[in-house]
C-alpha cells in the first residue's frame, strides 16, 4: 500500500469496525476499495468482472470481519480474501466456459406486452448493463430463486443479489423520472 494509504492504520480501522464503529468502517471501505480494484484489475481484463469480484470481496470482508485478529497486519488478511474471491471467479468462469449463451433480448410473453408502460419498461431494461439485466430477468421475469439464478449465471449468490439490487434501483429511478 502506498501514497495516502501509508498514513491509514487499516488494522485500527478494522478493530473499530469489529466494535461496530460505522464511521471507521466507511473510512476503511473507501480506503481499501481502490487498492482492491487495482489488485483485481491487474489480473482480470474485463471491467465488469473486476467490479463483480470487488463487490464480492467486500461482501466477504463484511461477512467474515470477525476473523480479523487484533494485533495482526490487515493486508495479508484482506488480500487473502481478495485472492480467494478472484480464484473462485476464475474457476467459475472456466467451468462455465463457452457453454454459457448470453441472451441479449428478453423473452416476450403475450400477457406482459399488453400491460401499460411495458414498452418503456423494456427500454429501461435494455439500457441496463448486460449483467444487471440478466440478473433482473432471471429473478423477476423467469422467476428463478437467487440460488438458481446465481448457479445459472455462474456467480455467487451475493454477487447476483448485488447485480439485481442495482438493476432494481436503475429501473425504479427510470420509472420515477417518467412519473415526474
Amino acid at each position: 500500500m502506498s501514497g495516502q494509504n501509508d498514513a491509514i492504520d487499516f488494522a485500527a480501522l478494522m478493530q473499530a469496525t469489529q466494535a461496530g464503529d460505522q464511521d471507521a468502517y466507511r473510512r476503511l471501505l473507501e480506503a481499501v476499495q481502490p487498492m482492491l480494484h487495482r489488485y483485481v484489475r491487474r489480473r482480470i481484463s474485463s471491467p465488469e468482472a473486476t467490479e463483480d469480484i470487488c463487490q464480492d470481496a467486500l461482501l466477504t470482508v463484511h461477512r467474515v470481519r470477525h476473523t480479523f485478529e487484533a494485533g495482526r497486519p490487515f493486508e495479508p488478511w484482506f488480500y487473502a480474501i481478495a485472492r480467494s474471491r478472484l480464484i473462485d471467479h476464475v474457476r467459475r468462469a472456466k467451468r462455465i466456459g463457452l457453454h454459457e449463451v448470453q441472451s441479449e433480448t428478453l423473452p416476450e410473453t403475450a400477457s406482459d406486452q399488453d400491460l401499460p408502460g411495458w414498452d418503456r419498461f423494456l427500454e429501461v431494461l435494455e439500457a441496463l448493463p448486460p449483467a444487471q439485466r440478466e440478473a433482473f430477468s432471471l429473478l423477476k421475469i423467469d422467476g428463478l430463486s437467487t440460488a438458481e439464478a446465481a448457479e445459472k449465471v455462474g456467480v455467487s449468490v451475493s454477487a447476483l443479489k448485488v447485480r439485481a439490487h442495482r438493476a432494481y434501483k436503475s429501473v425504479r429511478r427510470a420509472v420515477l423520472e417518467d412519473g415526474d
Binding site: G20, Y25, Q55, T67
Partner: protein, 224 residues
C-alpha cells in the same frame, strides 16, 4: 461522483455495507486452539467412558511402544486441530510440509509397528479380524463421526480459504482422537491388527472424508 464510484463501485454499495454493520466478537487463533484442545479432551474422555478400557491395556500402559503410539496419536489430533483452525483464518498459511507430514504420520506409525511388532505379529489374527468385518476400523469411523461433524460446524463459522486441506486436517483430527479412544479400548496388541485396523485407516478415511468436508465447508459463511 464519489471516490468509490470512480473506482467502479457505487457509494450505495458502501452505504449498504455500513448500514448493516453490527459489532462482532473477533476470533483469536490461540483461543480457538485452546477451545479445540478442550473439546478434544472432553470428547476423548466421554468416548472412553462410553466404550471402556480394554483389560489388557492396563498392562501396556507404561510400556514405551504404547506411550509412543499414544503420543503420536494425541500429537496428530492436536496438530491437525491447530492447522485446520489456522487455515480458517484468512492470511494465516500452513506450510506444504505439514500438509504431507500429518496425513503420512499414521502410515509411518503403521510401518514402525509392523517392523518392531512390540506385542507380536500374527497373520492368523489379521485374517480373523478381516473375516469379522474389521470391527475396530468401523468403530474408529463411528467414534470419529461426531467429532468430525462438530469440527466442521465450528469451521463453517470461520473463513476457510482452502476447503480441501482444512477438511483433511479436520478429518485427521477427529480420526486421531478416535484412534486414541480405540487404543485404550482394544486389547489386541498384534502389530498387523494395530497397523491395518487402527492406524492405516486414519489416513485412508481422512483422505476420503477430505472431499466431503470440502463440499460441506464450501457452504460456509466465507464461501456462500
Amino acid at each position: 461522483m464519489g471516490q468509490s464510484e470512480a473506482n467502479g463501485l457505487n457509494d450505495e454499495f458502501i452505504d449498504s455495507l455500513v448500514e448493516r454493520l453490527e459489532p462482532v466478537r473477533p476470533v483469536r487463533l490461540a483461543t480457538l486452539c485452546a477451545c479445540a484442545l478442550l473439546l478434544q479432551t472432553v470428547f476423548v474422555a466421554a468416548a472412553v467412558a462410553w466404550v471402556g478400557v480394554g483389560s489388557a491395556v492396563w498392562a501396556r500402559f507404561f510400556q514405551l511402544p504404547f506411550l509412543v503410539c499414544m503420543s503420536v496419536l494425541v500429537a496428530s489430533a492436536a496438530a491437525s486441530a491447530w492447522l485446520c483452525a489456522r487455515q480458517s483464518i484468512p492470511g494465516r498459511y500452513v506450510g506444504g510440509f505439514w500438509k504431507y507430514f500429518l496425513p503420512l504420520l499414521p502410515l509411518a506409525l503403521s510401518a514402525v509397528l509392523l517392523i518392531a511388532a512390540p506385542w507380536g505379529a500374527d497373520t492368523a489374527q489379521l485374517t480373523s479380524y478381516l473375516s469379522q468385518g474389521m470391527p475396530c476400523t468401523a468403530m474408529l469411523a463411528a467414534i470419529a463421526l461426531p467429532a468430525w461433524l462438530i469440527s466442521l460446524a465450528l469451521l463453517r463459522t470461520l473463513a476457510p480459504l482452502d476447503t480441501l486441506s482444512t477438511g483433511l486436517f479436520a478429518s485427521l483430527s477427529a480420526l486421531a482422537q478416535s484412534a486414541v479412544v480405540l487404543q485404550l479400548a482394544c486389547s489386541q496388541g498384534d502389530a498387523y491388527h494395530l497397523a491395518l485396523g487402527h492406524y492405516l485407516p486414519i489416513t485412508v478415511l481422512a483422505l476420503l472424508a477430505a472431499g466431503v468436508s470440502s463440499a460441506l465447508l464450501r457452504g460456509s459463511k466465507f464461501k456462500s
